[in-house]
Symmetry: C2
Subunit: 276 residues, 2 copies
């Protein structure tokens, strides 16, 4: 007998992943969190039946959401990750000589499930430079001033608890929470299936940050494969890494990929053309 | 009642597309060819239950397989498309001032189904510069000498009738069929799910052509989204378009996308590193 997990990825499109067994399932105050063993993607974390990460392809997402802002900042000492309870973003941030990383995750269960069942992703959470805060990312950011060099929003899709992370008011708070020269990066969905979201987030970022941009990465288990990341900067450029910045042990990111990720196909560029 | 078409995209991964109705289904000597009306991707052509093209996302694939070799050739007068019976590649080739385009498709039904039910894709097939040959692409290429400036292999996956199109002997015949300065491009599968194929095709191309390379495009309804194209050249470079070459009316391809497509993430580069 075969078991398949099926995700409704957009209207009229589903992806199904064969599952060998459910490793652990938890109903939390926020969502249903499940770690399962798949037959072809290693272990997989789903939240409310949406794939968050799989051991096989998480590298593409986590490397791109982290290293683009991190390699654009001259000295990213203090970093905040909002969401990202699986720890993958923190693991990548720790490939840089940072002083402190704060992770604010609303759902403690995501962290404990990942620590227990996804060690290759969550390993960095045990690093002494990492402080884990269980709480609301929006409130946490609102309470922070001139505190971070890089803020990374590694959130679920803009429904439910994550909705506020895609709104202009949040971006304004992020800007205040950044130190001089700070950078903000976030996942912003698919240019095929979330075109309106991509356009709106870019417009809002443009109005809040002196510099804003979009870049692309490819994450096989996300709808359509092609994924948009948004970036906002309090000052510096971000379309190529700073000279001499090398990140070791990456599988998706490198210096050339960083720059190429900002080359948008015309159908993506047109989503934001009115706002540039 | 909902109807879903499901494709087994790799071991343990399926994609499902909601189908409103089957427009036409034909059992041909080679395969089962179906055009259906989907709820979110427009019309879709499947061959033996594998998605070949949808009206919504075909632009990415057809633009990338054509314009990269076409814009790398100083004067692509004579072009051969092997496979590609839906006409999408021919439509893109005709955006250049070509003199003649030959299309060799083994399965006449693919052409007639596309002409009848996928007019936005197949429109170019009616152009007077286009000659349609129903026949075996491998034999046709073997019978051609110094005949084409660009040869594009727009094939199904390397099983069944298309298998020979991924073999070294075929690449040797392609090289002989190319004129001086000629270029060859082909679809080569997913770097996630067909890593061995990608590595082998690159190795074979390197041994047959003076210059060979891989480039990437993103096609949402193909497994993993990220897709590899192979390119071989009898002489000239291909990693950026020739100066002044502009293709109008594209949605995925442009000059910057051409160059960025050759930037391979480390996990893709490693597939071929031993062979460079």
């Amino acid at each position: 007998m075969q078991f398949w997990f099926t995700e409704e990825q957009s209207k009229g499109l589903r992806i199904s992943v064969q599952v060998e067994r459910v490793v652990e399932k938890r109903r939390t105050p926020y969502q249903e969190a499940v770690v399962s063993e798949t037959s072809d993607f290693g272990r997989m974390l789903t939240l409310d039946d949406v794939i968050q990460t799989t051991e096989r392809d998480e590298f593409a997402y986590h490397e791109m959401i982290c290293h683009v802002p991190m390699c654009s900042h001259p000295n990213p000492d203090r970093v905040l990750v909002v969401g990202g309870g699986d720890g993958g973003a923190v693991r990548e941030v720790l490939k840089h000589p940072v002083q402190a990383v704060d992770l604010v995750e609303i759902d403690e269960a995501v962290i404990s499930l990942s620590k227990e069942h996804l060690p290759s992703i969550s390993s960095g959470l045990a690093d002494p430079r990492v402080r884990v805060i269980i709480g609301d990312g929006i409130e946490f950011v609102a309470g922070s001033r001139d505190a971070y060099d890089v803020i990374i929003v590694d959130s679920t899709d803009p429904v439910g608890p994550a909705q506020g992370l895609f709104e202009r008011g949040f971006f304004e708070r992020v800007r205040r929470a950044l130190r001089e020269g700070g950078l903000f990066a976030a996942q912003t969905g698919s240019p095929f299936y979330s075109a309106e979201l991509v356009a709106r987030v870019y417009r809002d970022l443009r109005s809040v940050f002196p510099k804003a941009g979009l870049y692309l990465g490819c994450v096989p288990t996300y709808p359509g494969g092609l994924w948009v990341f948004s970036i906002g900067s309090v000052g510096g450029e971000f379309t190529s890494p700073l000279p001499g910045r090398v990140v070791k042990g990456t599988k998706y990111y490198d210096e050339a990929v960083h720059s190429a990720a900002f080359v948008l196909p015309p159908f993506v560029r047109r989503l934001i053309d009115g706002d540039r």
